[in-house]
């Protein structure tokens, strides 16, 4: 399976200032710190994850992304990251605007709802998909928005967001390169590098 952290790391400059929104247990920040000597901060609300970050000696700020990012100044970071979190936010489009205000570039990853497994789940079973990437029942899930990479690109076009780079990540089919040929069918995760 493709290393998503590796894709992100290739886009982050050495010794740059990085803000990771929804940083979880700090795995990505720790890896960026080791490989790129970044000065990073993570935002997180889950107390166990926060404690993991503290144990790792990472900078972690307890802050709810849904309450805004108004405390961060314009262009105060080189890169603002958000991995697998966009679909959990109340207003993803406003979060994207804020990320682009704060960071010179933004790197976003999200589950692609157009993947054949989710399509099949809904199309043939007639049930909301429960997959490895979307592992929750519909009534108890942090994922409150479902969208495909095409939906995401329509949003970017509408809001004049520049797609600098994108990589689609598939599952086992990866080996045949199908996720590049038909990404909306074969990519379970999309990784975007965005700028204003």
């Amino acid at each position: 399976m493709t290393d998503i952290n590796g894709i992100i790391e290739a886009w982050v400059e050495k010794s740059s200032r990085v803000l990771d929104l929804g940083c979880g247990d700090g795995q990505l920040l720790e890896s960026l710190k080791a490989s790129h000597q970044v000065h990073g901060y993570g935002l997180e609300i889950d107390s166990e994850s926060i404690n993991h970050c503290i144990s790792r000696g990472l900078n972690v700020i307890e802050q709810d992304l849904n309450e805004g990012l108004g405390n961060f100044a314009n262009n105060s970071f080189d890169s603002v990251l958000m991995t697998q979190t966009l679909q959990t936010l109340r207003f993803p489009h406003l979060a994207l605007d804020e990320m682009l205000r704060i960071g010179r570039q933004c790197i976003v990853t999200f589950p692609n709802f157009g993947h054949w497994r989710t399509r099949g789940y809904l199309g043939f079973r007639g049930r909301m998909p429960v997959t490895k990437q979307l592992a929750y029942q519909w009534y108890d899930t942090p994922n409150i928005h479902f969208f495909t990479y095409k939906d995401f690109e329509v949003l970017c076009a509408e809001r004049n967001i520049n797609v600098v780079n994108r990589v689609f990540v598939g599952g086992r089919t990866n080996d045949f390169g199908l996720d590049t040929v038909w990404p909306n069918l074969f990519a379970h995760t999309a990784v975007y590098n965005l700028s204003k």
């Binding site: 200032r17 926060i50 404690n51 503290i54 144990s55 000696g57 900078n59 700020i61 307890e62 405390n71």
Partner: protein, 386 residues
């Protein structure tokens, strides 16, 4: 670490010590204290390289007895957090807690004898600022042969000292832990302090601060000041949960309702009276003014980012959800300024209904956060296995 050691064992006190510094101490107000003494306690052992020392900074009414049980069977004010196996682990760190000047638990203050006189300082004791406490703490640091603190930790006014150290003595500490604190007081904070001071000054036994000469004490005024202060340290919810409308004495159903005393009234009166017996009225006035004067950005054209640019240590900032004296918003301003200054900082907002007092009370998540942070400090500074 064994689980049993975490909450039952107390710190082994190197019993209370005092040191007299004969070196002049230049105060912010211009006055020079030709000599001053500090009373302090230490817990744990200083390691060979002197790299495991932690300074604990007390708040308004605190003293040097932070942990363990002293000869009067009094348990330290932060015993829940300092001791063997506790978050501030005295098996790992050498912990120092002084009583600060201007206070009234052994260190030089308004109730001490003024130099070359037979009289106590009383109202003549010079006004102090946070920088004076920190300056005096540098004397203690030198006395204990500590070159650099592994961490300076304080809640409320204690957090202000930690921040002041970080900005003004950047080479003297590796970590600052700032708990339930603020960059400066709000108008409401100052107003509460003013009400408290007025309560003391209105007591006929205050005698313009020279009550010791008059062989009396303004206990009524001091108790009232403490009752007001104490209320602001608690949350409405915590008071409601603890007392509700419970009646301490008398009967609400009787015809003599005026004899009724609510539990909350009894509690508050008890707290006020207890405090008035142990604290000096001049110290209370002096230290509340210290709080009012504190403004971290003042020497940096009110730019706290510029102030924090001076710091080289790492920061842990902690606030409590129901604290309305120094609310989470106050701590967030500290964090924002630190991030803007590109400093290392982590921030925890602990869910608690205990108000400002939460920083002194047991709380699982607060303990866990402090413990994890300090374990990492130990690991990086002197390679103690986690």
């Amino acid at each position: 670490m064994s689980i049993t050691s975490s909450s039952t064992v107390s710190a082994n006190i190197e019993s209370e010590q005092s040191v007299l510094f004969r070196r002049p101490l230049q105060l912010a107000c211009g006055t020079v204290l030709n000599e001053h003494s500090l009373t302090f306690e230490t817990y744990g052992q200083l390691n060979d390289t002197g790299s495991n020392a932690i300074l604990i900074c007390h708040a308004l009414s605190g003293d040097h007895h932070a942990a363990g049980t002293n000869k009067d069977s009094v348990v330290g004010w932060w015993d829940a957090y300092i001791g063997p196996g506790k978050p501030i682990d005295t098996d790992v760190f050498f912990v120092v807690c002084p009583n600060n000047i201007g206070s009234c638990f052994g260190s030089t203050g308004p109730a001490s004898l003024a130099p070359s006189t037979e009289n106590v300082w009383g109202a003549e004791f010079p006004p102090l600022e946070v920088c004076d406490w920190v300056e005096s703490q540098t004397y203690l640091m030198e006395y204990l042969r500590i070159d650099c603190w592994a961490a300076i930790i304080g809640g409320s006014l204690g957090g202000m000292q930690a921040m002041y150290w970080a900005v003004n003595y950047p080479q003297k500490l590796k970590h600052a832990v700032v708990i339930a604190s603020s960059l400066k007081l709000s108008a409401q904070n100052i107003a509460f302090n003013e009400v408290a001071r007025r309560a003391i000054q209105s007591d006929p036994n205050f005698h313009q601060g020279n009550f010791i000469e008059h062989q009396t004490r303004p206990t009524q005024g001091l108790a009232l000041a403490r009752m007001i202060g104490h209320l602001t340290y608690l949350s409405d919810h915590a008071l409601g949960r603890k007392f509700g409308r419970l009646v301490h004495s008398g009967d609400l159903d009787s015809t003599e309702k005026e004899l009724v005393e609510f539990e909350v009234s009894s509690y508050l009166n008890y707290q006020g009276d207890k405090f008035a017996r142990r604290f000096d009225a001049n110290s209370y006035i002096l230290i509340t003014k210290m709080l009012d004067y504190f403004d971290l950005g003042a020497n940096f054209e009110n730019n706290t980012k510029a102030a924090f640019k001076q710091a080289t240590c790492k920061f842990l900032v902690i606030s409590f959800s129901s604290d309305w004296r120094f609310s989470p918003d106050c701590s967030k301003l500290i964090v924002d300024a630190l991030i803007a200054a590109d400093k290392d900082v982590s921030y925890l907002e602990i869910d608690s209904d205990q108000g400002h007092d939460a920083f002194l009370l047991p709380n699982k998540r607060y303990e866990q956060g402090l413990r994890s942070y300090l374990r990492h400090v130990a690991k990086t500074l002197f390679r103690v296995a986690a």
